[in-house]
């Protein structure tokens, strides 16, 4: 591409995304003071928030269009045509090479011409002309030696997709929240969940504050997505954390809500500890926080992390140190090479992943997410789909080139364990929001697993599609909760389909999307494509690495369980006969301000991934796939791990799709038998498997485990420390205090008797003398004269006598 046009495009993107990013911040500042300049009864703050995030969406969309325009709409063209052609000619290797060069920058142009590539000239040129990223610095905060702390931006098609997705979903959620939070539009809000004395708690409504926090949340998430370096990622990472804290604990007066907010914050802090360690390793070893430097000239003098670690082919170079330990070669500025120990790179990767485990609620830090349901439902929708938990997956995707194969294996296993465990818990949950919460954890496990087994685009595609259908389902559950007057227990619902048809059928679209049901080739919703992509990658991975079959069977089982619990949720809530007459009689469809977002989101949930791996979203994501992912890697020591290439995945795609679809159908049918037509009785199963059921109801006893492992030991140690404090430290302090008091008592006595005595005695004597001398003052003038004369005579006599 012409450098001039590239620069112009870059300026446009920067400008638009900056507006989209900063508008919610401006909105936050205005809204947080809304309580002062407006009344609590007006929706001004909400309109402001919707305006800000809506404008942000328009800007993001414009930026995406400009980007696609600049890349000749290339990401929208399917890759497979070129792919297959080459695969037939040169085999997998050439296909990989070709593909990868497409994602690399212009600098590969020369190298690429050496290959006999069987695409036509025009297409090849278009490939080489594609810009991959735009990056730069807004402001440099500080400069410590080699290390610079910048507020920078890094924009590639992943950033653009995330921006458009986040702003679109956030807009829908904001609009929904106008309806959902309208209870707060009052001077006197009665909180039925808080008992004070005889009645309920009364407090002023906090409508404007809710929207201020939502805006801040959006700002933080967008900042995290646009961040150009790890430092900035960390800052916004923490901002997202504090926003979730504020929103989960929105009903601060409810003990459960404030506890949940604390739990979310503290558990995340555990993960962030690992993140910080990872950051420190990178800082000391690389001396930079920048991801990558797309500008070739600048990359020579100031390379980013990825450029230092990986060569042009996207490979990591290693060498052996004299003591047989493995070293990773880094390419610094000006071609200068240095090395760091291999284990340190693994540690850095695991550390960064720890942060992602905390934010994305992966095993073993998943316990906070279900509790986060204490926040208002729009918050759950935002946290669970577009912002907080997506951040962890996004960061793994963004940081992908830094992960060693061992780290990717860890990620895959953690994801696999999480997805299976959370799915099993979701089967037995009865709170409508908690089912969705466990579903989120499970789906995040899918994404992590997808990324871990080398399916970069598959994992992120699932992130995007999941964001749409999960936000849709959360808003639907919000609509149900709103319609049933804050009843969240599914056993009290049932038969709501006729009362709230829009909610029921949009929810059904979400359920079908997440379970991945489809008629292949005819109609498939977004979840089908993304889940298939992940399963295909994991199947290819399991085939290439014989010792890891679990990485395929876990997600496969997960797919069936997902179908079961999602349909269970739908049948439980919307189908059959009403279980609780009271709830059913009062249920009503929500106002249009709540159902309109449902309709919009349902369209996106169904069709956002249209075309699957030949569709626009996929090609848009693949566009920013890290160099070297597409062609896979082979048997990297010491783990001898193979990562599948796109060609490998393509081979097994249809097979994996068949497995996934059949097990999902099985799950769906089972749910229908249990909860739809009720030929099977769930309580029978519950009774027979009571041990397992109880184990699942208690969430695999993780809370108890942590209680035994951490909370109680901490309590015991603290009781020792507190005893030591009370006996030794306090004893010592009290002793010294006693001594000091005694000394001062003696001092006071001395002062009062001796010093005061002397002073008073002098005073009294002086007074007595003065008193007695006053007698001389007779007032007799003549007497004075005699005294003067006598005195004068006396003095003269004295002088006279002394002069001899």
């Amino acid at each position: 591409m012409d450098p001039e046009i590239y620069k112009q495009t870059g300026d446009w993107l920067k400008c638009l995304l900056t507006i989209a990013w900063l508008l919610p911040l401006a909105g936050f500042v205005a809204e947080i003071f809304a309580g002062y300049w407006s009344t609590r009864l007006k929706k001004t703050a909400a309109y402001l928030a919707v305006g800000c995030i809506g404008t942000g969406f328009v800007c993001s969309l414009l930026a995406s269009i400009i980007w696609l325009n600049a890349t000749n709409w290339h990401p929208l063209k399917p890759h497979h045509a070129a792919h297959d052609e080459v695969a037939h000619g040169d085999g997998e290797n050439a296909a990989g090479e070709h593909h990868e060069s497409g994602h690399a920058e212009e600098k590969h142009a020369a190298a690429d011409h050496d290959h006999p590539v069987a695409t036509d000239e025009k297409d090849a040129e278009a490939e080489h002309d594609r810009p991959t990223a735009v990056s730069g610095t807004y402001y440099q905060i500080a400069h410590f030696g080699k290390l610079k702390l910048d507020i920078g931006y890094y924009i590639d098609s992943l950033t653009l997709v995330m921006f458009t997705m986040v702003t679109l979903i956030a807009t829908c959620i904001h609009v929904f929240a106008i309806g959902y939070m309208s209870d707060e539009l009052t001077e006197d809000y009665e909180d039925h969940f808080v008992h004070v004395g005889q009645g309920h708690l009364h407090r002023p409504g906090r409508f404007y504050r809710f929207f201020a926090f939502l805006s801040l949340f959006c700002f933080s998430m967008l900042g995290l997505v646009i961040a150009g370096n790890v430092f900035m990622v960390f800052v916004f990472w923490e901002l997202v954390g504090i926003c979730s804290y504020l929103l989960i604990g929105f009903y601060v007066e409810r003990k459960s809500a404030s506890t949940a907010a604390n739990k979310a914050f503290i558990v995340n802090r555990v993960g962030d500890f690992g993140f910080l360690i990872g950051l420190m390793i990178l800082w000391t070893s690389f001396g930079t926080f920048t991801f990558t430097q797309p500008d070739e000239a600048l990359a020579k003098t100031d390379p980013g992390l990825f450029q230092m670690l990986r060569d042009d082919q996207g490979q990591i170079t290693t060498q052996m140190a004299p003591d047989e330990s493995k070293l990773v070669v880094l390419h610094g500025a000006g071609g200068e090479e240095s090395t760091i120990p291999y284990y340190l790179m693994v540690a850095a990767g695991i550390g960064i992943f720890c942060g992602c485990v905390g934010k994305s609620a992966q095993f073993p830090l998943q316990t906070w997410l279900p509790d986060a349901m204490e926040g208002p439902t729009p918050v759950s929708a935002l946290v669970h789909s577009a912002t907080m938990v997506a951040a962890g997956v996004y960061l793994v995707g963004r940081f992908y080139p830094m992960f060693m194969p061992e780290v990717l294996l860890t990620i895959a296993y953690i994801g696999g364990i999480t997805l299976f465990m959370a799915a099993t818990i979701a089967i037995v949950a009865t709170d409508i929001k908690r089912v969705l919460a466990y579903s989120t954890i499970s789906q995040l496990g899918y994404m992590m697993l997808g990324l871990g087994v080398g399916g970069w685009a598959a994992g992120l595609l699932h992130l995007i599609t999941h964001a749409f259908f999960k936000s849709l389902m959360f808003l639907c559950s919000g609509s149900v909760i709103h319609g049933c007057h804050h009843e969240q227990e599914m056993p009290k619902m049932g038969g709501l389909r006729k009362k709230m048809p829009i909610t029921a059928y949009t929810m059904l679209i979400g359920v079908i999307a997440i379970t991945g049901l489809a008629i292949p080739g005819v109609l498939a919703f977004s979840g089908y494509h993304s889940k298939d992509a992940i399963l295909a990658t994991s199947l290819a991975y399991a085939r290439l690495n014989g010792s890891h079959p679990l990485l395929f069977f876990l997600p496969l089982a997960g797919a069936g369980i997902t179908a079961f619990y999602m349909f269970r949720l739908w049948f439980y809530t919307f189908a059959g006969q009403p279980r609780d007459e009271h709830v059913h009689d009062h249920a009503h469809e929500s106002p249009w301000v709540m159902t309109a977002p449902l309709l919009i989101l349902s369209v996106f949930a169904a069709f956002v991934a249209v075309g699957g791996e030949e569709g626009p979203l996929w090609s848009m994501l693949v566009h920013s796939e890290p160099v070297g992912v597409a062609n896979g890697t082979e048997a990297i020591p010491p783990g001898n791990i193979n990562l599948p290439s796109h060609a490998h995945v393509g081979e097994v795609h249809a097979e994996a799709g068949r497995y996934a679809l059949s097990i999902a159908v099985m799950g769906g049918v089972l749910a229908y038998l249990f909860y739809g037509i009720r030929v099977l009785n769930p309580s029978d199963v519950k009774r027979q498997l009571s041990g397992v059921h109880e184990f699942l109801v208690e969430k695999w006893r993780f809370d108890e485990l942590y209680d035994v492992m951490f909370v109680r030991p901490v309590h015991i140690v603290s009781s020792w420390i507190s005893a030591f404090d009370r006996v030794v430290i306090d004893g010592f302090l009290h002793g010294t205090a006693k001594v000091t008091m005694d000394v001062s008592e003696i001092d006071r006595r001395f002062d009062e008797t001796v010093i005061d005595g002397i002073v008073n005695w002098v005073g009294q004597k002086t007074f007595a003398i003065g008193r007695s001398l006053s007698v001389v003052q007779t007032g007799q003038l003549r007497q004075y004269v005699v005294f003067i004369a006598g005195g004068l005579f006396g003095v003269l006599m004295l002088v006279y006598l002394l002069s001899f």
Binding site: S774, V775, T778, G779, Q780, L781, R782, V785, A789
Partner: protein
């Protein structure tokens, strides 16, 4: 010469003693004032005598003039006090003026 100076000093001493005795014995305020005049004039006499018979020059006479002016001023103030005292007490007996005794 010496005898004349001695004579003057003698007269002065007599005047001085007479003045002091007058001040010490008179209960009448005017009498006391007259004693003061005598004492002052004894001093004046000494000044003038020393100016005349020694090398003191005109200084003695000048100081004597100052003393006379001073005496006049003092007499005016003292008479004013005496009049006010009379207005208040209907007497000018200095023994009655003992309000400031300790």
């Amino acid at each position: 010469m010496g005898s004349e100076l001695n004579f003057c000093i003698f007269i002065s001493a007599v005047l001085f003693v007479a003045g002091v005795v007058c001040m010490a014995t008179k209960r009448n305020a005017i009498g006391v004032l007259m004693g003061v005049e005598l004492v002052l004039n004894a001093a004046n006499l000494n000044f003038v005598a020393f100016a005349n018979y020694t090398a003191l020059g005109l200084d003695g006479q000048v100081i004597a003039l100052f003393v006379i002016v001073l005496a006049a001023a003092e007499a005016a103030v003292a008479l004013a006090i005496a009049l006010n005292f009379y207005n208040n007490q209907l007497t000018i007996d200095v023994d009655r003026a003992n309000d400031l005794q300790g």
